[in-house]
Symmetry: C2
């Protein structure tokens, strides 16, 4: 477990440095990038390391490094129970694909969902591929690793909607629009011990001519969030 994580590239670095509350540890940047941003970087002067392209490519995880790499401290979020009680919250159970995790953070960001919780066995929240797929959503969405049991202990009365393959039609079912929405592992779905605590089990209706066994978990997350937020 490291306390830091890395973001790369001009767009996200600019967003982090100038438009977020994240604590920055270091900025490694090409001279050309710095000269473009120099007027706004005064307060970060001590954190900046000028590197050349060869050095940047040595510390970068990207095939084609992009001008700047920022090392940030992982944020520690406190739980605002009032906010959680009055919003939809996502709980990701054992999501393994970093692209899916990032896409789901982006969905939360789009639909104004303040918190995304992840089980301990999910892919690391600050995995570079999660950061990349989230397209900056990780800056705005509060994401934390928590156990489902621990969360439930603190919020025992909150509705718990589980997305499953044989539940009620999410479009026609009478389901609350605030509460915890659980999304399960790409292959195995939601763990039985979590499913046992569902107050509602919802599904995306499949067309009668449809053949697929399931949908990608990020796609399913998007459809169910849209159904709850927009219908």
């Amino acid at each position: 477990m490291y306390d830091n994580f890395v973001v790369e590239g001009d767009k996200i670095a600019t967003e982090i440095i100038f438009d977020s509350d994240l604590e920055i540890e270091s900025i490694f940047a090409l001279k050309s990038w710095l000269s473009f941003h120099i007027s706004s970087l005064e307060k970060y002067q001590e954190l900046i390391q000028v590197v050349n392209e060869k050095e940047l490519s040595r510390i970068s995880g990207l095939k084609t490094p992009n001008q700047v790499l920022v090392v940030c401290k992982k944020p520690v979020y406190s739980l605002d129970f009032n906010s959680i009680n009055n919003n939809l919250t996502l709980f990701l159970d054992n999501i393994q694909n970093p692209g899916n995790m990032g896409s789901i953070l982006r969905i939360a960001d789009w639909f104004g969902i303040p918190y995304v919780f992840c089980s301990e066995n999910s892919v690391e929240l600050y995995n570079p591929k999660v950061i990349q797929a989230s397209m900056g959503a990780f800056i705005r969405v509060k994401s934390l690793v928590v156990s489902f049991g621990g969360l439930r202990e603190k919020l025992p009365d909150l509705p718990c909607l589980c997305t499953v393959l044989n539940g009620e039609n999410v479009y026609s079912a009478q389901v609350p629009k605030k509460g915890i929405l659980v999304l399960g592992n790409e292959g195995a779905g939601i763990a039985p011990e979590i499913l046992a605590q569902a107050t509602h089990k919802v599904s995306i209706p499949k067309d009668k001519k449809g053949g697929a066994e399931s949908l990608n978990v990020a796609v399913a997350a998007g459809i169910v969030c849209a159904a709850l937020k927009c219908k």
Copy 2:
């Protein structure tokens, strides 16, 4: 351009061999896999090559090859205009990420969408990562590379829905449920020359507290298809 493509692993190979019309060129399989399926493989006898694990890993594109690899002929689909006129059809404009392309085929398969068309500059339909992400959907969904202009020439009267960031709310807009639904490139969106032919421009409403600039294209495809098929 090759005429063949490769699928790997027990689940999808079994589906292709026993449950699809795809033309099989060769089956490379471990003895253990063959002995399990021997009674059903009679008609494929001449196409089967027994390989050991080392040989399989040499021809496989996977880190951990899974028992069997099948070489298939890419199917050539004819256009059933009657079906296209009476269904929702997807047109993918310059989709680059194979995971997105596979997820969208899976969405089409779930919602009973018979045809998915792709622009010539999209990621190759039979890219192994597309095949993997589609989870077998490519067997049932007819996917073809066509130019948008060519398609429009043949179907000039069909509604053309374009998913954009500043269009009508897809939930409240009066939009037809049959027609061509266009999804655009991950970064640039839909090409201007296609957008110019839109009969409707639709968007997924963003929460007033939402921060994300956009959604992942497969997630957006899922939400819009669900809105058109289920609302």
